[in-house]
């Protein structure tokens, strides 16, 4: 009798023994066996894998513009060299004396099932499709852009230009208690590695001479990623609750308000869209001091945030029609378009100073 699946069982047992540690950006930084012995350490520059160290040697990765590991060397010799099809399959492997599993866009490939692990979903490069639908709730962009209609498609069906890094998004941040409870608004650009840039538009000063900031030269302030927490994404591709909390705390300290008054409308966009937002923020930062005048009722922080969301393709220009430029109203008007909205808690969190002890004896009756 032929026993089918014996090899498979052994192989999965080996995989089960393997454990992985992930770094702050969600990349695998170490693989250990069941005894805790290190099998491999991985090194990164930003989110790009640069090297792998094992007890027996060191390897260096050379990626293309998508982050696919095209060549690997052991310091002196090429030990892996391959060409890839656009959708991620290996077209031709010229050299492969150092087998490893990090391939298309640097994602881990399961050699048995021929799928790539993209964090929230598994991707089959043979079909150029994910095995699971997009876990992010439909946004207006899904309706407007036909390439987003298929929830199984990869990178808007443009795999040579875009990647699907499970990140790179935009968020509108609302500070509800500021400006006499009319609120204040700023914008976040979140990158594939979880790093975030915060930009806000305001008057250059708020003294009597400038009408307490009502009509003054404008100023775009940009907070670089080094000053903000790195966003961690959950299985649904959206920031985890802990990440939201950290962002709220960091942004509250910057604006000088209480963290409980910070609310976030989060928009999932594509890799290319977030690049557009970064470029737009940089342009506004350059231009603000010379051309953008701050006007309380028309050219204000809410208008700036709306323009940023349009530039980053989080919303369409048509959707901005009729939207209020009062920041606190803007938060609620943007909520239907957002992938997720995190309003401030209605009831302040209370300090719990007692434990409820469950006594099974009391349930006997």
């Amino acid at each position: 009798m032929k026993i089918v699946g014996c090899d498979l069982h052994t192989r999965y047992q080996q995989i089960a023994m393997l454990d992985e540690e992930t770094g702050a950006l969600g990349n695998v930084v170490r693989e250990v066996d069941q005894n805790g012995n290190t099998l491999s350490d991985y090194f990164y520059l930003g989110s790009e894998r640069m090297g792998r160290a094992t007890p027996t040697g060191m390897w260096f990765y050379y990626g293309d513009h998508l982050g696919t590991s095209r060549v690997i060397t052991d310091g002196s010799n090429v030990c892996y060299d391959a060409d890839y099809f656009p959708w991620g399959g290996e077209k031709k492997v010229f050299v492969n004396t150092c087998p490893q599993n990090y391939k298309f866009t640097g994602k881990e490939r399961d050699p048995d099932m021929s799928v790539d692990y993209f964090g929230a979903r598994m991707y089959y490069f043979g079909m150029g499709r994910f095995y699971q639908p997009d876990p992010v709730a439909a946004t207006p962009l899904h309706v407007i852009d036909p390439q987003r209609w298929n929830l199984y498609s990869y990178a808007l069906n443009n795999p040579l230009s875009y990647t699907d890094p499970d990140g790179r998004d935009a968020a509108a941040v609302n500070f509800s208690s500021m400006v006499a409870s009319l609120g204040h608004e700023g914008i976040l650009s979140i990158h594939s590695d979880g790093s975030a840039t915060y930009a806000r538009f305001g008057p250059a000063s708020k003294d009597l001479k400038g009408g307490y900031g009502m009509n003054e030269p404008g100023h775009v302030d940009v907070v670089t990623p080094d000053r903000l927490p790195v966003v961690q994404f959950g299985a649904d591709g959206l920031p985890t609750q802990a990440s939201y909390d950290d962002l709220q705390k960091a942004l509250a300290a910057i604006e000088g308000v209480d963290a409980s008054t910070v609310q976030i409308n989060y928009f999932k966009t594509s890799d290319a869209d977030a690049s557009l937002l970064d470029t737009w923020i940089a342009q506004q930062h350059q231009a603000a001091s010379t051309s953008n005048r701050y006007r309380f009722c028309s050219s204000n922080c809410a208008k700036f945030t709306l323009n940023g969301l349009v530039a980053g393709k989080a919303i369409t220009p048509a959707q901005t029609a009729g939207i209020s430029v009062v920041p606190n109203a803007l938060f609620f008007q943007l909520a239907p378009f957002a992938s997720q909205s995190k309003p401030q808690p209605k009831v302040p969190t209370e300090q719990v100073d007692h434990k409820i002890i469950f006594d099974p004896g009391q349930m006997a009756d």
Partner: protein
């Protein structure tokens, strides 16, 4: 001279009362705006070298937003300590700080805090502390970093400086 009739007097009284309410309200608003945009008096609990760090400006701001930053030398622990307080003097952060380069503690006579434009330049997120921590700059160019998470902050700050340095 004609004296206004009773109904007219009532209307006049209402108009005058409304005017008084509006003028008083506007005066209170202007005074509040002036108060909010002025630098608050240093709370008595803070040392004399404390500086006021305003939050980035927004228009029509009725609240005082910003932080007091003060530093001193803890002679017993032989370390610099800094405290960030809100405008009322309530402590938001207090901890030991170490210089970015060179040995500490920085003596009292050199501990002159460099004015900070806004709170955007004061705070930096610390992954290890899971909170915002202050980055303190002195007038002689010395930078002080919180001892808790020092290596991480130093790495981030140096990367930040490299990113923003003009090309040579």
């Amino acid at each position: 001279m004609r004296i206004a009739s009773k109904p007219h007097r009532i209307v006049l009284a209402v108009v005058v009362a409304l005017l008084i309410v509006v003028v008083t309200g506007l005066t209170c608003l202007v005074l509040r705006l002036y108060w909010a945009s002025s630098i608050p008096a240093r709370p008595r609990t803070l040392p004399a070298n404390a500086i006021w760090v305003p939050a980035p400006p927004v228009p029509f701001d009725l609240e005082r937003r910003g932080d007091w930053l003060s530093c001193w030398v803890d002679r017993q622990q032989k370390v610099n300590r800094c405290r960030v307080s809100d405008c009322g003097g309530a402590t938001k952060y207090e901890g030991d700080l170490l210089p970015l380069s060179g040995a500490g503690p920085i003596p009292e006579q050199r501990l002159r805090l460099k004015p900070v434009t806004t709170t955007m330049e004061l705070w930096m997120w610390s992954d290890s502390a899971k909170r915002d921590v202050p980055i303190v700059r002195l007038t002689d160019g010395t930078v002080l970093l919180p001892a808790n998470g020092y290596e991480e902050l130093k790495r981030r700050l140096e990367r930040d400086q490299n990113d923003t340095a003009p090309p040579s």
